[in-house]
């Protein structure tokens, strides 16, 4: 494959594995974060219960969660001498999905909460007049909020695909197993292969654009 010789990439198979793992980890983490975060955001907007404001403030504050701190905390939990050591998850793709889910969850939750507050003020009365219970109303709310959910999903994906600090700690950047685009860029920079690191950076940006465009297109098709 002469095309890759330009970047100094010797092994196209290794590179495709790296790209595949990057996508698998960040898409899984985003999907999990959406699965839990979207309903949670809506619930926080619809239900009134003690401590709700504290939760809302907390999720908004967690938008600035430092990835290395989350990585370190999860490392200590998953270490064999930690409380969850028996799962043998440390230094595996599973641990990377877990840490990125934690990082993406506040983003999806906070954005969905914001969207739901507005929509509930507008449609909440109508949804309940129809006699729907609150859980059913939340389902309708999420359906109405599809477009904004899309923004939340894209923001979550953006965080996970570009993240490096946390997955480096819990994944270990093991060749052929937990090495992703971002950890490869860090590695190649440390090896002084700056042009290759930069080239991989452009590949990462390209992939990120392609995935975002695909999600966006799927969402737009849904609208019609």
């Amino acid at each position: 494959m002469d095309d890759w010789a330009f970047w100094g990439v010797p092994d196209v198979r290794a590179l495709s594995r790296i790209i595949a793992l990057s996508l698998a980890v960040s898409v899984s983490a985003t999907a999990l974060a959406t699965l839990f975060g979207a309903p949670l955001g809506a619930v926080l907007a619809v239900y009134r219960f003690p401590g709700r404001h504290i939760l809302v403030v907390m999720f908004n504050a967690l938008l600035g969660l430092p990835p290395v701190v989350v990585g370190l905390a999860l490392y200590l939990l998953l270490s064999r001498s930690g409380p969850l050591g028996s799962l043998s998850l440390l230094f595996s793709p599973g641990a990377m999905v877990l840490v990125q889910t934690v990082l993406a969850l506040p983003i999806v939750t906070a954005l969905m909460h914001n969207a739901s507050v507005d929509l509930w003020a507008e449609f909440g009365g109508a949804l309940q007049v129809d006699g729907a219970t609150r859980p059913v109303a939340i389902m309708h709310l999420l359906a109405i909020a599809r477009r904004r959910l899309l923004t939340a999903v894209l923001a979550g994906f953006g965080r996970t695909i570009s993240e490096v600090g946390a997955i480096l700690i819990v994944g270990g950047n093991i060749a052929g197993y937990t090495r992703t685009m971002t950890t490869t860029i860090v590695l190649e920079t440390s090896k002084g292969n700056l042009s290759m690191a930069l080239g991989l950076g452009f590949v990462l940006i390209g992939i990120s654009i392609a995935v975002s465009a695909t999600i966006f297109a799927l969402g737009s098709a849904e609208e019609q």
Binding site: V27, N173, I174, G176, Y177
Partner: protein
């Protein structure tokens, strides 16, 4: 909900990918950055995996962190290069058997202009003293790696406290790996202590060049250490032992000696080690 469907399919695919990767027996080797970044392990380990079916997951962490990782029980064996820290690791009951498998040497690199006039010398301690005297910029790893430990031993031998000496502004502790230190030294025109393996395979040398080499104190020995099953019963002893056996075997030693970058040998088999 096409979106939900797409998410489910992608999640299923990723689980499949994770499953296939976890099929064979695998051990975790916590190692120094030099043997991984120089691609020595990537070069020699596939043959071991082909013969035994055991895949080796390499964590490149620097000696201090690698030993800490193993002490927490998160690795099955270590490959490191700091004799003092290794002895402590064994004395603490974490490590059981320690075996030298390769060696090369450390070198003092610096800018071609060589403001401290150390070029061509063989005495690393004298060179360090000259660098401190001249107040020439020096990049320190500061990450408790094997290289960092040797650097601090050399400053002690020179009876210099680099952090305080001459106001200390010439001494830059970057808290990073060997590659980061070389990148920084190249950009600043600074001196630094490097292991030869990383240096030879490093791609951004710019104006940096080897200035001091050949001091017996710059010997760099790489050891593998098996964990003590009494303290670490969860470590995979049997496959780890097979890896150590293979690295020390005639075949493994030949593979280490054969690895070259740009025609230069990076690591010497321990069989011909200068004791």
């Amino acid at each position: 909900m096409r979106l939900a469907l797409a998410a489910v399919i992608l999640a299923a695919l990723s689980i499949l990918a994770a499953r296939s990767a976890g099929a064979a027996e695998a051990i975790v080797l916590a190692s120094t950055t030099s043997v991984e970044n120089s691609e020595l392990l990537a070069h020699i380990l596939p043959e071991f995996t082909r013969q035994t079916g055991i895949s080796v997951r390499v964590l490149a962490q620097g000696t201090g962190q690698a030993l800490a990782t193993a002490a927490r029980g998160d690795a099955d064996l270590v490959l490191v290069h700091d004799p003092e820290a290794e002895q402590k690791f064994v004395a603490d009951g974490d490590g059981a058997e320690r075996r030298q498998i390769a060696w090369n040497d450390f070198i003092v690199v610096g800018p071609g202009s060589d403001p401290a006039h150390v070029a061509g010398g063989r005495d690393a301690v004298a060179a360090f003293a000259a660098i401190a005297d001249a107040g020439a910029p020096f990049v320190s790893r500061g990450d408790k790696s094997g290289t960092d430990a040797l650097e601090h031993r050399l400053w002690r031998m020179a009876e210099i406290d680099p952090v305080k000496s001459g106001g200390g502004s010439w001494y830059r502790d970057i808290g990073g790996g060997m590659g980061a230190a070389l990148n920084t030294a190249a950009a600043m025109g600074a001196y630094t202590l490097a292991d030869r393996g990383t240096w030879l395979s490093f791609g951004n040398k710019r104006d940096l060049t080897v200035l001091v080499e050949g001091d017996a104190r710059l010997l760099n020995r790489y050891d593998v250490i098996l964990l003590d099953p009494k303290k670490h019963p969860e470590a995979k002893q049997e496959p780890a032992r097979r890896l150590v056996g293979w690295l020390a075997s005639a075949e493994g030693q030949a593979a280490i000696g054969d690895y070259k970058v740009n025609g230069e040998q990076l690591f010497h088999p321990s069989a011909d080690s200068p004791k």
